[in-house]
Amino acid sequence: LVKPLICSLFKLPESKVRIQQPYQGGSFGNRLFACVEPMAVLMALKTKSAVEFTFSRSEMYKSGPSNWPITTYIKMGAKKDGTIVAQQIRILEDSGATLNSQRDGRTNASAAICVYDVPNVSIDSYSVNTNTPPVGSYRGLGAPQVEFGVELQVDLLARKLGISPLEIRLKNVLKRGEKNAYGEVVTSIGAAKCLKAVSEAIEYGQPSTQEPGPWRKGKGIALGGKQNTPLGRSEADVLVHSDGSIEALISCDEQGMGAETAMAQIVAEQFGISANAVRIVRSDTNITPYDNWSASSRTTYNTGNAVLLACRDAIRQLCEAAGREVGIAPHLVEIKGGKALITGSHITELPVSKLFKPFSPFAQQQWGLQKGTPVRGHGVFCPAPAVPWKEEDGLTPRMWNWYQYSATAVEVAVNIETGEVKVVRGATAADMGFPINPKMCEAQIEGGFSMASSYARNEEYLYDKDGRIINGSFQDYRVPTVLDTPLRANFKSLLVPDKLPDGPYGAKGMAECNTVPVGPAIASAIYDAVGISPTIMPMSAERILQLLKDKEMGKQDA
């Protein structure tokens, strides 16, 4: 993605541009589009020497693209038993001074329809340019904002109908095999199981125990889903060397999400060896094969499928070589643990390293594998293309590849004197299709919970009248510290996979959706604790205190 942009911006021949990606800090999506890269190229072209371009923290806030605010208007219709039959939604998103906005409403609209089975849906989505800094992709791509509205509305509906927030969600959630509002068949959805898991984890049905003092406790629950955008092609090479060691060449990003580890695990599983024995070579446009980008939680699915195909290609070549060696059809050979295992011959196994012939500079007619030249398996994976929706009814059989789901339940304490909201207990369950690395999936859930519970309660960009950020530093824009997270025993991360038929080992992706239900679960818990319904994130102490005062004055119906 970066290379074609640099080539076209600066009119450089492709052969003159080489991109090597170093390890980067976590960016959560906002480095998806090139921002510092063109600056560095410009400097290098002017000075004709090696240059480094560094953003200070304050420049990062002021000009680095980040998340954007969305206002959502929702009307829902339901039967008395809680079955939702219609929803009408209007979405307004503030895209800031983003020039080349790719926002066409589909991502936000998808967030609003991917969780519940609603037969009649009407959505209008508007992207508005303003004077605030440009916006960029950020974890969830609008889903946390839009679904905050959807989930609050579902809670409101449950209250009107006198059924519990858990029950109304279980009643309306989409099930595998059903069609969503686009008309797509849902092939993997663990949403209902996620809900049940988090409900059990915090004993959602049991009321909170209240203590004397200003803190009032309450419990809340919410659900979330997020589409995966079909972002084109991923390729991978797998090299099996004559000494049996294996390398995988990939070009997906590694920003700490563990993509390299997951890819090494897939290779290890395919070859029946330890993941430590797999070396990953990564992201160099002169060496590693093409990958569109790592975005939309797609790496495990997209690059993972390419790695799987590359492994199978290499294994096929090894099976053919072993078959030739013993005179047997390749399908009777299996490659496992550095050996070719053979059925139907008196030779039952051969070390893979023995399939490579010694190198001799003078020998003629050296067919087959040769020492020093690895077997190269190549894999190309292009997800099934999206089909544009029809103008007349908005329906399409395939809008996206798949959806990731998660549910959060929290217990909060609200200080009725200051408006402060603390999360005292919580659980998030995520459906990632299949957890290739369960510990890393847990880590993504925990990080997502921390991030979302902080921006739900605290984080907010403040602008001056010209749209400049005035709190652009860690001093004034507070990201959560360890003291903002619950004690370890009070948070559970739960893996609730529902296999995706076309994912590697059934895996899809996960790390965005676990931010989606956190905000609405906190809002729901605040209502349970003190009977007010915040509708704006962040649910800051000031806003909560104002709502509490309004309630006292009788301005808000509880």
């Binding site: 390890y23 980067q24 976590g26 510990k439 925990e446 990080g447 360890v482 003291l483 004690l487």
Partner: protein
């Protein structure tokens, strides 16, 4: 006449056990000297205003934020950076615990986290979860949500309590 600042001052530092005598512009920070003059880039810049903790080093054993420490303030003192704590072959128990407990995602905060953890455990070898959180709240991490970091420090604490101190002296200088 206002007193003129000298262009450079002499600074004596012991970094990871090695003594250094440097002529340095007094307006520079310890972080800049560590990264640029000594080439020890394990110590990271993050915010330049002491809010994020990725630049944390140990100064005479205490965790300090090197981005706001003028180099003169470190004169005559002993500095431990992440490079001085352990090696890949012989990691410090806290480093090993961070790996074992998946306490690292992008890794940018990790050197500061580990050095802060060392200062916490040196001062309170039996630190509770609450004490670890209290000591760690000046170090920001955007990836992990902190759960696995605290878990790793608790695991390192338990291991260090049951292992004789001598055998923990990984990578030379650090105890």
């Amino acid at each position: 006449m206002p007193e003129e600042h000298p262009a450079t001052i002499e600074v004596r530092l012991e970094v990871n056990g090695t003594p250094h005598t440097l002529m340095v512009d007094p307006a520079r920070t310890l972080l800049e000297v560590i990264r640029e003059d000594l080439g020890l880039t394990g110590t990271k810049p993050g915010c330049d205003d002491a809010n994020c903790g990725v630049c944390t080093v140990l100064l005479d054993g205490a965790a300090v934020k090197s981005c706001v420490l003028l180099i003169g303030q470190a004169n005559g003192k002993s500095v431990t950076t992440i490079e001085g704590l352990g090696t890949a072959e012989n990691p410090h128990p806290i480093q090993q615990a961070f790996v074992d407990h998946f306490a690292i995602q992008c890794g940018y905060c990790t050197p500061g986290m580990i050095l802060t953890a060392k200062a916490i455990l040196d001062e309170h070898p039996q630190a509770t979860e609450e004490e670890i959180r209290e000591g760690l709240h000046g170090n920001l991490c955007r990836c992990t949500g902190y759960f696995k970091i605290v878990e790793a420090i608790e695991a390192a604490r338990d291991q260090m309590l049951t292992t004789p101190k001598r055998s923990l002296a990984a990578g030379g200088h650090a105890q």
